[in-house]
Amino acid sequence: MVEGTSREHFLARLGPATSPAAEDLSVDHELLRLVGPEEDLLARFMQEAAGLGMQPRLVQAESLELEMSRLLSELAPVSACLSLADGQLRSLVLRAMHSAGCEARDTTMSRGIAAQYDVDIGITDVCHGVAETGSLILNSAAGRSRGAHLVPPIHLAILYREQILPDLVDFFTATGESELATAQVFVTGPSKTADIEGVLVTGVHGPRAVHILVVDN
């Protein structure tokens, strides 16, 4: 294999070895805040997500299974892949799929990403919602998939009300202690492009529809 330039040689061009000022940088995150914790986060999230062209639906915890099977009957997918870390939630989703006549494929992701190209819907949990932007934050920790939200033509996400952060900065100022997942993604709307004459088209490479069941306990 071609090795390229050595690290020492490469770094030597970038200035002296010791940088006394390095790491000495404090920044003012509050400058960036657009939504504070005092706001109605649920309402803001619903509004932003809908404004982006996603389809958020508020459901009570006790009717999650029913609402999900209703939504699945509407969407009528033949097959699905699941990326859900919690066993209980997975059983709930499987029951909902069963009653909607939808076949779960590869629920444990054992076939990797290849299988995801053949299913109609990806069903995932998320780690956060962001009220400011209407974004969903997903990560690949705890056996979750990197592709389930992206490869199938429809994405269905399950978000719990208490997972909603006020502002994007809250995510970045809160992380740090816990180990970073291999892949994190902020999903802010369905896949879209305006490359051809500025005309907006959704569903370019990723899903054309993003449904969110927002669970209120």
Binding site: G4, S19, S140, I196, E197, G198, V201, V204
Partner: protein
């Protein structure tokens, strides 16, 4: 394949003079109109979203973002070293490339070692800079651009004309023709239909590719993470499906910590497309771990210098703070007038390209770029990291004079002008002579409706002025004469 012409457009014979491509743009109203309407709309949108979100806080945020970037650049060695260490800690590999040929060799070697046949690539300016696709294809690796705009540009064997919206110079008909010809599909002008055709064609490529290549919007030194911002989802697919992921990145992409990222995320999409956030923001930290069900098994970073360390050492290092949002291109009246990026004869176009290209590729090779600006400052105002681009044009012009890239006639004219202005007597003589000369010219021209107060044709060096404008004759009495007669005598007479 695509690259003979691409090479020609963005990697022209040097030294490169803009003249011919300016003429071409002047003759191509459709292209100029397309570029003008798209960029002007984006420029308006950008101003609106900033006014609606950060409002009067925006200048302070810009300064904070610029400060973070300046800190990174001041300590770039430290942060690159740290980044490389963090990547290795996660099981990734970092390669260092002094120039683009070396970077491409490393990438081709990785592809060969993996036996890669098909590569999916997301949009990346630094791979354009290195002409990576050409080298991969020469090595027998089919390489497909997956950003819709880049895909169409690639089908047309054309070159991108904007750093964010690469097919800004093309309309839907061009897109339809390219797909009809290259993919043997029915001709369409409907953007949704064309997008659907591209989607199904590219899905197949994503599914079977064994190599995925991306650029980087940001690299996080502290965690060894890669940040990618896209709207289409092509970057996510390019770097999730294939077994091997190679990242091409310029060294200036590194920022210290994950917690610095929201500054740039909140600025980037607003500045580039007027969105609060791009649809997908991926943060990737290392190759697939044993507990991950999917994702590439290998992750390589190729960090590229290619002239950047020279810029870093110069007094123009601020230019490396650029986050490639494209706002300065959208704001620039010259970019519009020349019909987009191709006129710049380089991968980076618009104001940032005009400042950076001469530094990366030789001042003597791009004599026009620092000059072709009215210094109106729209680019500086648009820049979310507060880069004073006009100041850099002036610095480059100064360097052109010092290196005698500017012709003797101009140098002589300025010396004489400076000399005459320094002396009150010479100045008065000069301006009186000017008046007389203009008076003579006007008496020889019969103006519109016999108007003696206007000049329609002027000799060098004012000839260019009279191409499209008339010149009013100076007032009969100068301000100095008026001041003297009406307000008494000034201190220096």
């Amino acid at each position: 394949m695509s690259d003979d012409q691409q090479r020609h457009l963005l990697d022209p014979k040097l030294p490169y003079l803009m003249g011919a491509r300016i003429d071409k743009a002047m003759a191509d109203d459709a292209m100029r109109t397309a570029v003008t309407s798209t960029t002007a709309a984006k420029d308006v949108l950008r101003k609106e979203v900033f006014a609606n979100s950060f409002a009067e806080r925006y200048p302070a945020i810009k300064r904070e973002a610029a400060r973070i970037k300046a800190h990174c650049l001041d300590n770039l060695r430290h942060y690159i070293d740290k980044f490389a260490g963090a990547v290795e800690g996660l099981g990734g590999k970092v390669h260092f490339a002094s120039d683009s040929q070396e970077a491409n060799r490393i990438c081709v070697a990785i592809a060969k070692a993996e036996g890669a046949r098909l590569c999916v690539k997301s949009k990346s300016m630094v791979t354009e800079e290195a002409f990576l696709v050409r080298d991969l294809e020469d090595a027998g690796v089919e390489t497909v651009e997956t950003d819709l705009g880049e895909f169409i540009v690639q089908l047309d064997r054309d070159a991108p004309s904007h750093i964010v919206t690469p097919m800004i110079h093309k309309d839907r008909r061009a897109a339809g023709r390219a797909m009809q010809r290259e993919l043997q599909v029915e001709y369409s002008e409907d953007p949704s239909k064309l997008t659907a055709i591209a989607r199904s064609y590219l899905r197949d490529k994503f599914r079977h590719a064994d190599l995925g290549i991306s650029g980087a919007n940001f690299l996080i030194a502290e965690s060894g993470s890669l940040v990618l911002c896209t709207n289409e989802g092509n970057a996510g697919l390019s770097v999730t499906s294939p077994r091997v992921h190679v990242v091409f990145a310029g060294i200036e992409k590194v920022i210290p910590r994950l917690s610095d990222l929201p500054f740039f995320l909140k600025l980037l999409a607003r500045s580039g497309t007027g969105q609060d956030l791009t649809v997908y923001t991926n943060i990737i930290s290392g190759p697939r771990r044993s507990s991950d069900p999917d994702g590439p098994e290998e992750l390589h970073f190729i960090l590229l210098d290619n002239g950047r360390s020279k810029v870093l050492a110069s007094d123009q290092s601020e230019l490396l703070a650029c986050i490639r949002c494209g706002a300065c291109l959208n704001a620039c009246p010259v970019f519009r007038a020349v019909g987009g990026g191709h006129a710049y004869g380089a991968v980076y176009s618009g104001p940032i390209g005009a400042a950076l290209t001469p530094l990366l590729r030789g001042l003597e090779n791009y004599p026009d770029l620092p000059q072709a600006s009215s210094l109106c400052g729209a680019c500086h105002e648009a820049c979310p990291v507060d880069i004073d681009l006009p100041k850099h044009f002036v610095s480059l012009r100064r360097a052109q004079i010092e290196q005698q890239i500017v012709g003797w006639r101009e140098r002589l004219a300025y010396r004489l002008w400076a000399k005459s202005m320094r002396s009150a007597l010479l100045f008065r003589m000069g301006s009186r002579m000017g008046r007389i000369a203009l008076g003579l010219l006007s008496s020889r021209q019969s103006g519109k409706a016999g108007d003696r107060r206007w000049l329609m044709r002027l000799p060098w060096p004012m000839k260019a002025w009279s191409m499209d404008r008339d010149l009013p004759m100076p007032a009969r009495r100068s301000f100095r004469q008026l001041w003297k007669s009406e307000c008494g005598v000034g201190k220096n007479g």
